[in-house]
Symmetry: C2
Subunit: 114 residues, 2 copies
């Protein structure tokens, strides 16, 4: 068993300047998928660029939106979101506190932002 | 994009009597892995039986322990846990409120408790 926490590992920044903690990774021995925690400050956005693989998201705190190909969905704590491969997905913090969420991806698909 | 929440879907029970909500599943189109939310009442335990596939866990609320093959780890909100394939993992709620956590598994590996 491997147990970690955002307090135990390094915080990184994505190219959009969003905070990311790689909690469970291939380096820790994940057989198939990696688990990260993201935080967006008030008003902050991610790039929205689509990827050829899925994201599975679970919202921990704050309020926000995800802009997709043809829709904008509102997100709040406890929401789970499946973003399909090749689907646009721009996260925006629309609330007045940090927007925090978990995001799981297949192994090795986002090594460039590790 | 598919968005859901424990308030929108049916709650089920595992053979141990633990509450489970299947948030993102193959039926929703997950390409590789499925995301569930579990709740254990005060003092409640899971069976601990090992499986030939991994679990990736993120703790949402409460306090607990996971008993592994040769160790017992304490868990609290914000902790991420990688349970390796074939590793024993008995979750126990050791706190005085509900223990809630997210658990991600490869597609189709726990269809028997859907």
């Amino acid at each position: 068993m491997y147990v970690t926490n955002t307090h135990k590992i390094q915080k990184n920044k994505t190219p959009s300047g969003v905070s990311i903690w790689w909690l469970l990774t291939q380096e820790n021995g994940t057989p198939h998928f990696e688990l990260r925690y993201f935080e967006l400050e008030e008003g902050q956005k991610t790039s929205g660029n689509p990827h050829p693989f899925e994201h599975e998201v679970y919202v921990i705190k704050g309020r926000g939106q995800i802009a997709g190909d043809n829709e904008v969905v509102e997100i709040k704590p406890g929401d789970a979101v499946l973003i399909f491969p090749d689907e646009r997905h721009q996260f925006v913090n629309t609330g007045d506190e940090v927007l925090g969420f978990i995001c799981i991806i297949p192994n090795g698909t986002e090594n460039h932002i590790k």
